[in-house]
């Protein structure tokens, strides 16, 4: 035993080096062209204000809910058939029968469908909560206006996802709610009648409507949402998240105008002698968080 241990130690570094090279060479090749290491570092190894709160996890929670929707939706699309024709075997519409078979026959199909059905509600609730948090924190103000705008567009796209997805089970609830929904579009001035006709795809809600809603629901809108989320997360990473506005150690807090001792003002935390004029804004004391 005593002789084998040093021998292993001699061999290992060389083998390790080879393995490392084999693994790293393709990564290096990709990194040289994409700088993804730099990008990942930029995203992961950044600092956030030290007082960020649990409320600020709502954004990533919304993203998770969307990822759940994307994955379960992709699985559902493998079994779902968007057709209003009557299935000769079941005597029911093909779309309806395929939903029944997903729920009852496909392994864990009930779970995938249930997660997609209720994940939609979770997604919408989280969108609203996340928006409420941003509003409460005043986090839409300079320089994060564009982040807010992409967020509002995501909310609108998410609602449209709900509207188009609701029809797909092709049951009575879905059919009549969509009939009303399409007629509502028709009441809009100018574009309304055209939009209603486009959505229905024919004189009444049928096969064309279903196919159209399916395409919008699983191709058009998800593409838009992916793109918007990309822009949204890029902006959040680039501009940073805000501190809770009531925090005493808020990042970017106002400093006393000018400290007359000649020290450089701004980056240095106030020592306590200069903030008599605006007591609420800064907390004196504390050794500063520069660690």
């Amino acid at each position: 035993m005593a002789t084998t241990v040093p021998r292993r130690r001699k061999v290992k570094p060389r083998r390790q080096k080879l393995v490392e090279q084999a693994v790293l060479a393709p990564l290096d090749w990709v990194d040289e062209r994409t700088a993804f290491v730099k990008g990942t570092k930029w995203f992961l190894f950044r600092h956030v204000p030290r007082d960020v709160s649990w409320l600020q996890t709502l954004g990533s929670a919304t993203l998770t809910a969307f990822i759940v929707q994307a994955l379960t939706g992709a699985i559902l699309a493998m079994y779902y058939q968007p057709s209003a024709a009557i299935d000769p075997q079941t005597g029911k519409p093909v779309a309806y029968s395929s939903i029944q078979s997903i729920t009852n026959d496909v392994t864990l199909g009930w779970l995938v469908r249930g997660m997609h059905r209720w994940g939609a509600s979770v997604f919408i609730i989280l969108l609203f909560l996340h928006m409420g948090r941003v509003f409460l924190f005043g986090a839409y103000k300079y320089p994060r206006e564009l982040t807010w705008i992409t967020g509002v567009l995501l909310l609108a796209t998410g609602m449209l996802m709900g509207f188009t997805g609701y029809l797909l089970p092709w049951d009575q609830t879905a059919y009549w709610a969509t009939a009303v929904g399409i007629n509502l579009n028709g009441t809009a001035p100018f574009l309304g009648p055209w939009l209603a006709q486009f959505l229905a795809g024919g004189p009444e809600i049928g096969n064309y409507t279903l196919a159209k809603f399916y395409a919008i629901h699983m191709l058009l809108l998800p593409g838009a949402i992916f793109a918007l989320i990309g822009v949204h997360i890029y902006l959040v990473t680039r501009l940073g998240v805000t501190s809770p506005p009531w925090s005493k150690e808020e990042a970017g807090r106002d400093r006393p105008p000018k400290v007359p001792t000649g020290r450089r003002a701004g980056l240095v935390r106030p020592s306590g002698d200069g903030d008599g004029a605006r007591p609420g804004l800064v907390r004196s004391g504390g050794s500063g968080g520069a660690s």
Binding site: W110, S121, A177, T187
Partner: protein, 272 residues
């Protein structure tokens, strides 16, 4: 004091970046740990809802538990007595429709208010330009937010609990209608009135104070003053031929029923 807002904004953001750099905490792994925990909660809640939905249902999914049935019966364009109901996050819109139910105003609910809300939301950072972020110093924003949340909650609640009058309840009103419209004892209009109550006409139309008044469907209380039974017989079989693209055809009711309905409409002269 006279410094420009833009200048103050840029200085504030420069301070923010310096503070985060000097006193912030690393996003990985500290902040992202909280995100991961929260994401796991989201996935668990979703799985839990799916399980409650599936295991709570019975009768092959048509009878629901707490979270409702797995599916309603298959779509059937022929039925008219089915009450349209959107997913819960459209209930507010659903209820706005009942507030602005007259044909001339229905577009306020369907397009007007949602468009205004969307524009107000998109424009928020541009009309609320103050640098102040503390809620206690933003009374207007906070009051507006509370009012918005309250009105959305009330509209959603009202939309969720709104009951369309059911055919079985409306049938009880037929004698009253007959009395008001003066067709008491006449067999055909009375039969037509019963059909009118049962076939879901009042899911869109209004009649002597009853009905939903959705989609701009007109009040039919005095429709008999405008045309005769022969006209109505044609109309309800093919509304599209008369330029009505919203209402569907009711020819599936069969000729005897259609004649009764037409007689009822012709007898509806506005009442006393």
């Amino acid at each position: 004091m006279a410094r420009e807002l833009g200048e103050l904004n840029r200085e504030g953001f420069a301070r923010y970046k310096a503070d985060v750099k000097n006193e912030g905490k690393p996003f990985f792994p500290r902040a992202i740990l909280h995100d991961t925990i929260m994401s796991l909660v989201v996935v668990c809640v979703t799985v839990g809802l799916a399980a409650i939905w599936y295991y709570g249902s019975s009768n092959k999914g048509l009878t629901g538990g707490v979270l409702g049935p797995l599916y309603a019966p298959p779509a059937d364009p022929g039925t008219t007595s089915f009450v349209p109901r959107p997913d819960w996050y459209f209930y507010f819109l659903f209820y706005l429709l009942r507030i602005f139910k007259w044909p001339e105003t229905v577009f306020i609910a369907t397009v007007g208010i949602p468009t205004i809300c969307l524009i107000l939301l998109l424009g928020l950072p541009f009309y609320d330009r103050r640098r102040e972020r503390r809620p206690s110093r933003r009374p207007v924003a906070m009051i507006a937010a509370v009012l918005t949340v309250l009105s959305m909650a009330v509209l959603t609640w009202k939309g969720a609990t709104a009951n369309e009058a059911l055919g079985s309840e409306l049938v009880l009103l037929v004698p009253k209608w007959a009395h008001q419209q003066g067709f008491e004892g006449k067999e055909l209009p009375t039969k037509g009135a019963t059909l009118f109550a049962q076939s879901g006409c009042l899911n869109c139309h209004t009649y002597l104070g009853q009905g939903a008044g959705q989609l701009g469907a007109p009040n039919l209380s005095a429709i008999g003053a405008t045309n005769d039974a022969a006209f109505f017989l044609q109309y309800i079989q093919n509304p599209a031929a008369f330029g009505n693209k919203v209402m569907g055809s009711y020819s599936y009711l069969g000729q005897p029923n259609l004649h009764a309905l037409a007689a009822f409409l012709a007898a509806s002269k506005g009442g006393k």
